[in-house]
């Protein structure tokens, strides 16, 4: 019997068409960028060297990948309920893809990307960039190891699977440590700009604020991602799990608001928030989206159990975090360096990277067991008991 080989082209949907267009445009931009340099495809300049690629792709990308370490820490280290186990794999996958895309974005943004390996051998202990580089490298490796059981299960490689599982706790602890360092050190990058940044965003506590907000958005991203998986893959929405995460968001955002406002009061800069300026408007919008709206939605018992409202709360938190990172990296510097708006080429590369992330997530979800396996790791005790079944 000859085996049937079927080659099926995927159906061209709206999003696939968008992805294709973005890939073609991004490929064109990549050619220009790597042949003619950053100046040919970006609006970056000497007094504004970091734009959309760092502000969104790196700062937001890393923060939105924080679900990987928050959920892993909840499940493996703090052991807060086994119910979160089912969301560990998709969350780790989201984080892993997030970091890979951050690296891809860095390859576009670095002036000389071929020197990206330098921090490996040229150690500069005094540089925050050195810490960021090492954390990204190590944490991406840890995420690959955390995700590897999915691949080993798929191909039935039992020995490496056993080996990786036996070291899982070590990887998780390493991941949590590295993420803590990394999330905060991205905030530390801006500590050298106290005179250039707007007082509403500059703070010596930037590393702490970056870390707290990353933990919050890690939980919100997990709700967001679960909702999209539910719609796309018809995966059951585990409301009890998501409500638990939403409660976590309330706690984290209350801590965030407290730290941020106490810090502003302490530094006597709260007055800037009440001036009639563009910065003040953006500041309040950021606070509203990142903290106030999620806290309100998730605190109302009638709303938090409704999946649509859970989604709106999570989206608000994600959008607020995006605003925060872009306000820190771009808005706060515009007063000193003049306005910056990305060229279409910058926007296309960013959009293509995000779209690639969604596409790869879909492909992995389709081909690997990232949602709970229908067959247990061990048979259920009552069925696998030593007693042979009796028959009528």
């Amino acid at each position: 019997m000859s085996p049937k080989i079927r080659i099926k082209l995927p159906k061209l949907t709206f999003w696939r068409a968008v992805l294709l267009v973005l890939w073609v445009l991004a490929a064109y931009v990549a050619v220009i960028r790597f042949t003619k340099g950053l100046g040919a495809v970006t609006n970056l300049r000497d007094d504004f060297p970091w734009g959309l690629w760092i502000g969104f792709d790196v700062l937001c990308g890393v923060a939105l990948a924080a679900g990987g370490f928050t959920i892993a820490a909840l499940v493996y280290i703090f052991d807060i309920g086994k119910k979160y186990h089912s969301i560990t794999r998709p969350t780790v996958l989201t984080a892993f893809l997030g970091y890979l895309l951050v690296i891809a974005a860095l390859m576009f943004d670095l002036g000389r990307p071929w020197n990206i390996w330098h921090p490996l051998v040229m150690w500069n202990h005094h540089s925050v960039m050195f810490e960021v580089a090492w954390c990204v490298m190590l944490y991406t490796t840890v995420l690959a190891l955390e995700f590897s059981p999915v691949v080993f299960e798929k191909f039935g490689w039992h020995l490496p699977l056993k080996l990786v599982r036996s070291f899982m706790l070590v990887f998780v602890v390493a991941g949590v440590l590295l993420s803590t360092l990394h999330q905060s050190s991205l905030g530390s990058l801006y500590l050298i700009l106290p005179e250039k940044m707007h007082p509403l965003w500059y703070s010596p506590l930037l590393p702490v604020l970056f870390f707290i907000s990353a933990v919050g958005v890690g939980l919100a991203m997990t709700i967001f991602e679960s909702f999209l998986s539910h719609r796309a893959f018809r995966k059951e929405l585990e409301l009890d799990v998501l409500v638990g995460l939403a409660r976590g968001v309330i706690l984290v955002e209350v801590i965030y608001l407290t730290v941020r406002f106490l810090d502003m009061i302490n530094r006597h800069v709260l007055g800037y928030a009440f001036q009639f300026t563009r910065e003040a408007a953006l500041f309040w919008l950021e606070i509203l989206l990142m903290a106030v709206i999620p806290i309100v939605i998730f605190s109302i018992p009638k709303l938090v159990v409704k999946r649509n409202w859970l989604f709106y709360g999570a989206v608000a938190n994600v959008l607020g975090l995006v605003m925060n990172r872009l306000n820190v990296s771009i808005t706060s510097l515009e007063r000193w360096a003049g306005p910056y708006f990305p060229k279409w080429q910058e926007i296309v590369v960013t959009a293509a990277l995000v779209a690639t992330g969604f596409a790869v997530f879909g492909w992995v979800a389709k081909n690997f067991p990232i949602f709970e396996s229908p067959v247990p790791e061990e048979p259920e005790p009552e069925a696998a008991g030593s007693e042979a079944p009796t028959y009528a």
Binding site: P10, E153, F341, A384, Y391, A392
Partner: protein, 227 residues
């Protein structure tokens, strides 16, 4: 303004996606495809002391040399709803690979083929009268027929038992996902049911059309089909 631009872009994309999903759901609802989240497929039960055939029949060899046959939990969960069960009559001689029982769901029938040749000595009348019993425990009250096997010494070593059976069932779960994802995802009537893989639903076969049913039967239940 970059922050506002990025946030608005994300909102626009999410809105477009929500509109597209709504339109797709409406289209599928008109096509009569069940809506809403499919229930999660519960864990498949395995009894390690039984022999399992690749077409999802289990076999228990009794002390008197006879064997009881039944269908495994994977098949039960795959079908979800079982309206009726039919078996061959006692005294019938079946060759390995011939149908020995049928699980019925509406007008559809899933043939279960004997993993071993022999004469059927007994059928589980209680199960035929109450087919729902099979869902409670397919390994105890859910047995189908008793058979006097004739080539057991040759057949039994080829069947799966204990850890091998557990591993095989795990792989079957993966194979099911692949089957649903690769074969059916492109079809508009199944797209939402199992769009791009994910967790199979309990009773996923009831969501699929006749062609997919036949294909699933061929891939998972016909390993002993005779020419």
């Amino acid at each position: 303004m970059v922050a506002i631009f990025v946030v608005l872009t994300i909102i626009v994309f999410l809105t477009i996606d929500a509109i597209l999903q709504k339109r797709e759901a409406k289209r599928l609802a008109l096509a009569g495809v069940p809506q809403g989240a499919a229930p999660r497929l519960p864990k498949v039960r395995v009894v390690k002391g039984l022999f399992y055939a690749p077409n999802h029949l289990w076999m228990k060899v009794l002390a008197n040399g006879q064997a009881k046959l039944g269908v495994d939990d994977f098949a039960v969960k795959l079908l979800g709803r079982i309206d009726a069960i039919e078996t061959v009559e006692p005294g019938t001689y079946v060759k390995k690979g011939q149908p020995i029982a049928w699980l019925k769901q509406g007008k559809r029938r899933l043939a279960l083929r004997a993993p071993v040749s022999g004469r059927v000595t007994q059928v589980n009348r209680s199960l035929l009268e109450n087919p729902e019993q099979i869902k409670e425990n397919p390994y105890t009250r859910g047995w189908l027929v008793s058979i006097e096997p004739e080539d057991l010494g040759e057949t039994a070593p080829k069947l799966l038992i204990a850890e091998r059976a557990v591993r095989w069932l795990r792989r079957e779960g993966q194979r099911l996902r692949e089957f649903l994802g690769e074969t059916l995802a492109a079809r508009p009537d199944v797209g939402l049911t199992m769009a791009d893989g994910g967790v199979p639903a309990e009773g996923v076969l009831s969501y699929l059309d006749d062609q997919a049913w036949r294909e699933c039967e061929a891939r998972f239940f016909s390993m002993y089909e005779t020419e």
